[in-house]
């Protein structure tokens, strides 16, 4: 750790500080005989974007789905705002890798679907949905169907849907992995703006080191089989700079290199 801007922190444990919103305590997960996750302990601070990064098979998506309440943990606890949760809840919203849009519904109805399930009256939910469709840059596409949109635009619909329900925590499972490279970069920039604007807590799963360093306040590196927390890195990057400046910034490149050195042992 020669670079002073990298601030590796010890595995968080014990009492949580007041602005911790998601607590992961002693989470283990077994799929039959396979141990997917072992003793995961993590705290996620309110208003921060934390990335779970690791090679495939390290259980990062499983951990995210356990936090979402979509997959039950074998042992351990998830606490949101101090309360133990066992299933999905309105304080969390999920963005899916394959978008999970309903092909028979328009963009507007897809974005409003979370509110529809909550029983929000149509006029009100459509107003909210239109607002977030504009926020993610899809104005004019309200009445289109998902198959009329590109992959990147579809994921924008998924993100607008997650914003619409006004959850405290947004869980994003490799949201850009099905989006092509150019759009991916633009998307990352837009995401940072939304993070800035919406002041929510983001948990982000990716296997792209550059993406993780570019968007995250904090990166949790997981090691594979079984998944454990191997390192936590806080890239102190000045995000007020222009995207192209950041991507050439020395500390940005140093963090990318540092993470790659940590992960290369797992590459085949």
């Amino acid at each position: 750790m020669a670079n002073p801007r990298l601030a590796p922190t010890a595995h968080p444990s014990g009492a949580a500080s007041p602005d911790v919103i998601v607590e992961v305590r002693d989470i283990c997960k077994h799929y039959n005989d396979v141990e997917a996750l072992r003793d995961i302990n993590l705290d996620f601070e309110r208003g921060k974007l934390t990335t779970l990064l690791g090679p495939s098979g390290c259980g990062k998506t499983t951990l995210l789905k356990i936090i979402a309440g979509l997959v039950p943990a074998t042992s351990g606890q998830i606490r949101i705002n101090g309360k133990t949760v066992t299933g999905p809840g309105p304080e969390r919203a999920f963005v899916f890798q394959d978008f999970a849009l309903m092909p028979w519904a328009t963009v507007l109805r897809n974005v409003a679907f979370g509110l529809e399930l909550k029983g929000v009256p149509q006029a009100e939910r459509n107003r909210t949905a239109r607002h977030y469709i504009r926020e993610v840059g899809l104005s004019g596409f309200e009445e289109k169907y998902p198959h009329e949109l590109s992959g990147g635009m579809r994921q924008r619909v998924g993100i607008a849907r997650a914003f619409s329900v006004n959850a405290d925590v947004l869980l994003l499972d490799e949201p850009f992995s099905a989006v092509d490279e150019q759009n991916r970069r633009k998307f990352q920039e837009d995401l940072l703006q939304l993070v800035e604007k919406e002041r929510k807590t983001f948990l982000f799963v990716t296997h792209s080191i550059e993406e993780a360093v570019y968007v995250s306040d904090r990166i949790v590196l997981l090691s594979p089989r079984p998944g454990r927390v191997s390192q936590i890195i806080e890239p102190a990057i000045d995000r007020s700079a222009a995207p192209d400046v950041i991507r050439r910034d020395k500390s940005y490149l140093d963090v990318v290199e540092e993470i790659w050195q940590g992960l290369r042992q797992y590459a085949e």
Binding site: A68, G87, P88, A100, M102, W104, L117, H147, V165
Partner: protein, 250 residues
């Protein structure tokens, strides 16, 4: 279609065949093939007769009843098989066996069970149509993307809501495809059932015309049936296409 730069209308091949038929018919080669023109005029005469009208009524009634039963049983059974392993295990083998079985062989047994009447024909239509409807509904429910169901759960939908708002709608294109193929099979069922029972509806007419070598009317009736089956299929297909359009991204 274009030939030597000229646009050929869609029905051209039909017209060509009708022409060949007309020529062969005029040549008086075989009594089985009367000229097309006399078949068509026999068709117009046939439609005006009371016996054709009442036969059509009986046929349509058997068909509609049998199909309604097949859809009412087939769609829920297929959905249940797709959703619940145990139902799938109980019915899976039977459905797969019947979907490819030569069901015409069963009609004589049905005649013993249900008598020589409309009931047998209704049951025949049902048996012809129901299996493919079951299989397609099952396939539709099984291929609902798991992430769509997770999406519903993560936004707080109940199991019932997930079923009505996600699973059913997601499976709709396959369910409709099953119903369309079921309808086509049902048309076969109604004709085969009536011919084997042979004292009601079109079966009675077919029997009558073929025994009395009234080939004009025999062919006219056949063509009316063909046209009706194609029309029915086209109507469902049109409806299906609109649904497919919405589900086009899968």
């Amino acid at each position: 279609m274009k030939l030597f730069g000229f646009r050929i209308p869609m029905m051209a091949s039909l017209v060509l065949w009708a022409l060949v038929w007309e020529i062969v018919g005029r040549m008086d080669v075989i009594f089985l093939i009367p000229p097309m023109s006399s078949i068509i005029s026999a068709g117009f005469g046939l439609v005006a007769t009371g016996s054709w009208q009442s036969a059509s009524l009986v046929t349509v009634r058997s068909f509609v009843l049998g199909m309604a039963l097949a859809i009412a049983v087939g769609v829920p059974l297929g959905i249940a098989m797709g959703r619940f392993r145990i139902v799938d295990n109980i019915f899976g083998l039977w459905v797969n066996m019947f979907v490819s079985a030569p069901l015409s062989a069963l009609v004589p047994i049905l005649m013993i069970l249900f008598g020589l009447g409309e009931t047998t024909v209704v049951v025949t239509v049902f048996l012809f149509a129901v299996w493919i409807i079951v299989l397609d509904a099952r396939a539709g429910v099984m291929q609902v993307p798991p992430s769509l169901i997770e999406m519903g759960r993560s936004y707080g939908a109940s199991r019932f809501t997930i079923f009505t708002k996600i699973i059913l709608l997601s499976a709709l294109p396959e369910i409709l495809a099953g119903i369309r193929i079921g309808l086509i099979r049902g048309v076969k069922g109604v004709v085969i059932g009536q011919i084997l029972v042979s004292i009601i509806g079109y079966g009675e007419l077919f029997e009558l015309y073929s025994r009395s070598f009234d080939m004009e009317r025999f062919w006219a009736l056949t063509m009316i049936l063909f046209a009706a089956a194609m029309l029915l299929s086209a109507v469902v297909e049109h409806f299906e296409k609109r649904i497919e359009y919405y589900a086009g991204a899968r």
